[in-house]
Symmetry: none
Subunit: 204 residues, 4 copies
DNA sequence: TATGAATGAGTCTTCATTCAT
DNA sequence: TATGAATGAAGACTCATTCAT
């Protein structure tokens, strides 16, 4: 049904098999029916866990969604950080960011659908603020790394909050359509095009 | 609470006051609580209409959401079409598209939040296919109009499905953040920046 | 099953038939199984009302219990007030109070069981304070009436909070046992004995 | 939080520390939330025992409540028996019974609340009949002892089942209110008053 | 004796929807 | 067209109890 590998899901936090099965089942249900329309019973059936076990591990449905969201973004962040490790020029950095985005989306289509569609699962949650701060820190760290690059000044001068939208907006907007099956061309075939666009947009 | 004007909501289809009040109340509820978490009772309370009346006019909750979604996009399309009427160069066209997007989002923030967040309200609906075709037609018409422009060939050669993401992806990605209050700079202050970016990305 | 008459239940507040059926069924269930062990399903079955109707009228199970409790005490208070209307001596007053207590308990055994057993249904409820004040007022009014009697000074001097326990404690303690089937003699056969005891305890 | 001493709880039956901790925690929970609303988890948390341990020692929640109830009454009975050992006149006996009641309630307020509120924990239990008989025996023994007193005939002639309610009803009715914080005067300040009342009621 | 993860039957409660007026 | 009381299916969630260690 889905190519979401359990190994993938496992990678960003210590989770036992039972928890991973629950997360995997939940992700699948959430994508196919939406969070609200997914019943605990559905997750139970697909995961093999008992209702009690699901509640034992996650507390309630919203927290499963929250876990899925947070771990998705964390896992992506990690991958991005790794890919930026060796980068020495601003051009390489842009290239890396775009490539990693596309690669992650292609490797984790359901997870990508989930984070694209459910930006608000953390809303009104105790974890909300904490996770916002974590995200802000990650962004800050990324920007700091870019600033340290020797050719950083090649980057177009823009309000800071615009950089990410400009850099990755086209990819994300395309990816949303592709993930919805609305687009003839696969995302990965367009990697070079998106990189070229980003370079033109951001480097003088 | 919201600056969504009822007049605005009214403009794309023949609707009486009662219906507009219902739509307005529903939009407000949907934004604040999500579609599923919004109960008919909430819409009843905010709109002043009775439960029976709501059902009389819209059939059920999903159809209210569907109406909101379709009319939102139609209303935007209309505005875009008007703004493109006088356009004579490709550069003006790009400028117009970006400007109209930003203007519409700023004029209809809740509506914008709604269409951004609820791309899937038409899913598994009889209206789905119909509306998809309508949207495709609109896109086609837009592209045809651009092709007819004398300096069309200035446009970078790209797979056709990439044009819209590249053109409007940065604005939309930024707008989502702005509508969520995650961004320091108001969208309208960045209009010129976004236009410059788009021109650089799309014109040779 | 129970001799609780619906007419009786109706007397202290404007209630429609449906509500009275629900209250009657609930009282019966509460007595036989306790409040917690009574399920809405049981009340539904016995009352003939639908689940939704029960919730429509009472909000939840606790509020049914609260209504039963408050209306029980109110109904008793009313009866007591009526019986004290014509009273001219302190002895008659004592006699009246004891008689009314016994009569009410005998006429409403299930209701009496309920108020004896469930003094705390209003605990941590918004109605708690309000009802406490109502009760205090009723008590105050009763005492004021007694004070106005010409032979009031025949009453033994005691801390005010002791009067009611001394006057009615024996009856209530006996009634609890009788209502539990633990006592050979019916409460009403002992009316004169209880009156004599009360007079001895409280006069000169 | 409560002045219920563990030593007190221990006195009527052989119980090890673990069991006493469980009983103490349970009593506290039962008083604050009621028996049904108390979860094993709450008792576990307050007692420090594990869920398994609680079940090992008591079988289930109802049996904890039953143990608490039975041991409470037994402990009180014991204390009463001791206090009646030296009694030689009917007046002293009445005095002793009232004093012991008040003393026990003051020394064990939570336990007193518990037995007052939960007369029916043994209902539909195998222990019910047994304990009823035990109680009846105790009452019989008490009455026999009183009958043996030289001035027994000073006691007013009343149906036998009335003696206890008349003797102790006022104290219990007052105590219920006092334990609920509804009364300005502490129970122990009224001991002499209650004794005087009882003597007047019961001795000719 | 002690532990606590796992189970799943059992309940409360919600809410979309209907329909008689 | 408008109303809102009544319905009951459906689901989230709890919690007593078990049992392998």
């Amino acid at each position: 049904m889905t190519n979401q590998s359990i190994t993938q899901l496992a990678s960003s936090k210590q989770r036992n098999t039972r928890q991973l099965e629950i997360l995997k089942a939940a992700l699948n249900c959430f994508i196919h029916h939406g969070i609200e329309a997914t019943t605990i019973e559905m997750i139970r059936e697909q995961s093999g866990a008992s209702v009690g076990s699901i509640y034992h591990h996650f507390g309630n449905k919203e927290k499963i969604a929250a876990a899925l969201y947070k771990e998705g973004l964390r896992q992506f962040s990690l991958q991005l950080k790794l890919s930026l490790k060796e980068v020495t020029t601003i051009e390489d950095a842009i290239r890396s960011i775009i490539q990693t985005n596309i690669e992650w989306i292609i490797a984790n289509p359901d997870w990508a659908r989930f984070v694209f569609r459910h930006r608000h699962v953390l809303k009104d949650t105790e974890q909300e603020l904490l996770f916002r701060e974590e995200t802000a820190l990650t962004h800050r760290a990324l920007f700091t790394q870019l600033e340290a690059l020797p050719d950083f000044k090649r980057l177009r001068v823009l309000p800071e909050s615009m950089y990410l939208p400009v850099l990755i907006g086209p990819v994300h907007t395309y990816a949303r359509q592709w993930l919805d099956g609305l687009t003839p061309l696969a995302l990965n075939e367009l990697t070079e095009d998106f990189i070229r666009i980003a370079l033109k947009s951001l480097l003088d």
